[in-house]
């Protein structure tokens, strides 16, 4: 079955600390991977995507993610977070022949 699992529903972190939001997916074939951010009462904004090539992907707002095919993971990282990074983050996968499937989301709360 095709599934996307975000391992942490909530991640609290202090300002300027590093953060990692974890995402695993189920697949034995090549997929396309995405991270989106959602601020309250807004739609989804694309942070970064992996389609092919280098497994380390850099996105907007200082975020980056690493694709690990053997572990079927696509974890999102930021070396130093800001209060403004507080939001809901969604991992998404496009399976061959399919549309985009999302994880349940991780709420990142950055504390001063």
């Amino acid at each position: 079955a095709q599934s996307v699992t975000q391992l942490d529903s909530q991640v609290p972190v202090f300002e300027e600390a590093p953060v990692e939001l974890r995402c695993n997916y189920s697949s034995s074939v090549s997929v396309y991977l995405f991270w989106y951010v959602q601020y309250p009462n807004q739609g989804l904004q694309l942070l970064l995507k992996y389609l092919s090539g280098s497994t380390l992907v850099k996105g907007i707002n200082g975020f980056e993610a690493e694709f690990n095919k053997s572990q079927t993971s696509f974890h999102l990282r930021k070396p130093s977070v800001h209060i403004s990074d507080t939001a809901e983050y969604f991992c998404a996968v496009i399976y061959p022949g399919g549309d985009m499937r999302f994880g349940a989301g991780t709420r990142l709360t950055v504390k001063p």
Binding site: N41, G43, D99
Partner: protein, 113 residues
Amino acid sequence: DAGVTQSPTHLIKTRGQQVTLRCSPKSGHDTVSWYQQALGQGPQFIFQYYEEEERQRGNFPDRFSGHQFPNYSSELNVNALLLGDSALYLCASRRGQGFYGYTFGSGTRLTVV
């Protein structure tokens, strides 16, 4: 450059009624997908339209139907509303059938009472 536009932004309906939500894709985009996002959950794929045809469908009942017009705009219709249909409905657009990621609208918040 306008992004994805959805209307209305908020809507309250009574159980059993019917509702129509509208979406105008980003300029240059011709593929539209609809998602339902219940409170505290990730978006769930409803269906995708391309060239005025439903191309893919998620696990949603036939009460959910849609349409795409020649100008690529789209409508989502939900019949016989249930309380459980209360959610944020997101429209997303992209160019063709490629995998470059969607551009999302801000959504329509539907409340069924």
